[in-house]
């Protein structure tokens, strides 16, 4: 059992290459890790997780996770649940209410796509805050 000195949240993004929403998940996750919530989040490498990476799987068993998927296939959420434990929060970019369409391509996001990265990053960050909140009532209410 690993030492758990400080609670952090694991972020699992699908990084799917078939549609721009997959790229949005990747960039939004990096933004949260590097800028919005550094020191409070850890990215879980999904390929390594799927391939059996014990560090990635142990972490997701011991800490809360947020999965960020591009589409309704929810590959990251399903993989996390099947191989470790159910994510605390599952975000699906394509299902976000009011999400405009036309983000560019998976390879190159357009301006709307880059705006979506910011929006999704903020949603992830708010959920990180909620999961790390000392107030149990906050933890129950998904953002």
């Amino acid at each position: 059992m690993p030492e758990l000195p400080r609670k952090k949240v694991g972020l699992v993004s699908c990084s799917g290459e078939e549609m721009p929403e997959g790229t949005i998940t990747r960039l939004a996750t990096r933004k949260v890790l590097e800028t919005l919530r550094p020191g409070e989040t850890v990215t879980i490498c999904l390929p390594l997780f799927l391939a059996g990476g014990e560090g990635e799987r142990s972490f997701t068993r011991c800490y809360p996770t947020i999965t960020i998927d591009g589409c309704e296939k929810r590959c990251a959420a399903k993989g996390t649940e099947q191989l470790s434990s159910k994510p605390a929060v599952s975000i699906v970019v394509a299902e976000l209410s009011g999400a405009p369409r036309g983000f560019g391509t998976a390879r190159r996001l357009n301006d709307a796509g880059m705006e979506a990265v910011k929006t999704v990053a903020e949603i992830i960050a708010k959920n990180v805050d909620r999961l790390l909140s000392k107030n149990p009532g906050d933890r129950e209410r998904e953002v």
Binding site: P2, G39, F59
Partner: protein, 152 residues
């Protein structure tokens, strides 16, 4: 050799687990050293290899080279760093690992087994009284370094 068979210290920070076999000693720069009779085998610790990233290139000394403590034992290049690794001891290089020169990724994949770097003769090294760290002490140092890295 099977250094991990003698038990090891483990340190987990976030999703990273670092291993420190008890039979080895360690330098602050992250070199491990194992005693094999009158010879010493050296490599890069699990903590140092994870911290520095995938080794793309390595330069090792030639057999016969005489090193003082602090002289460059090896240099590695990863996408993150170009690192000169100082020898923790004075001695003569008896053997270099030709396999790791062809496949430097062994330093990352098997830091305490096939990823060893050199074998040295170090006649002046007093194993029990050396300034090298044991596994527990080095693990504590690694923890400090890792926590500093995470804050930066």
């Amino acid at each position: 050799m099977a250094y991990e068979a003698g038990g090891q210290f483990e340190l987990t920070i976030d999703k990273f687990t670092f291993r420190f076999p008890n039979d080895l000693k360690y330098s602050e720069a992250g070199i491990w050293i194992g005693r094999e009779g009158s010879r010493f085998r050296l490599g890069l610790s699990d903590f140092a290899q994870q911290r520095n990233g995938d080794v793309a290139f390595i330069n090792l000394p030639l057999p016969g080279a005489e090193l003082k403590a602090g002289d460059e034992l090896a240099s590695i290049e990863t996408v993150k760093v170009n690192l000169s690794l100082p020898s923790p001891v004075m001695g003569k290089i008896l053997e270099v690992n030709a396999i790791v020169q062809e496949a430097p990724e062994l330093i990352n994949l098997e830091p305490y087994n096939r990823g060893w770097m050199v074998i040295m003769q170090a006649e002046d090294l007093e194993w029990e009284n050396s300034k090298l760290f044991n596994a527990e002490t080095y693990a504590a140092l690694a923890k400090e370094q890792a926590e500093t890295d995470l804050k930066s």
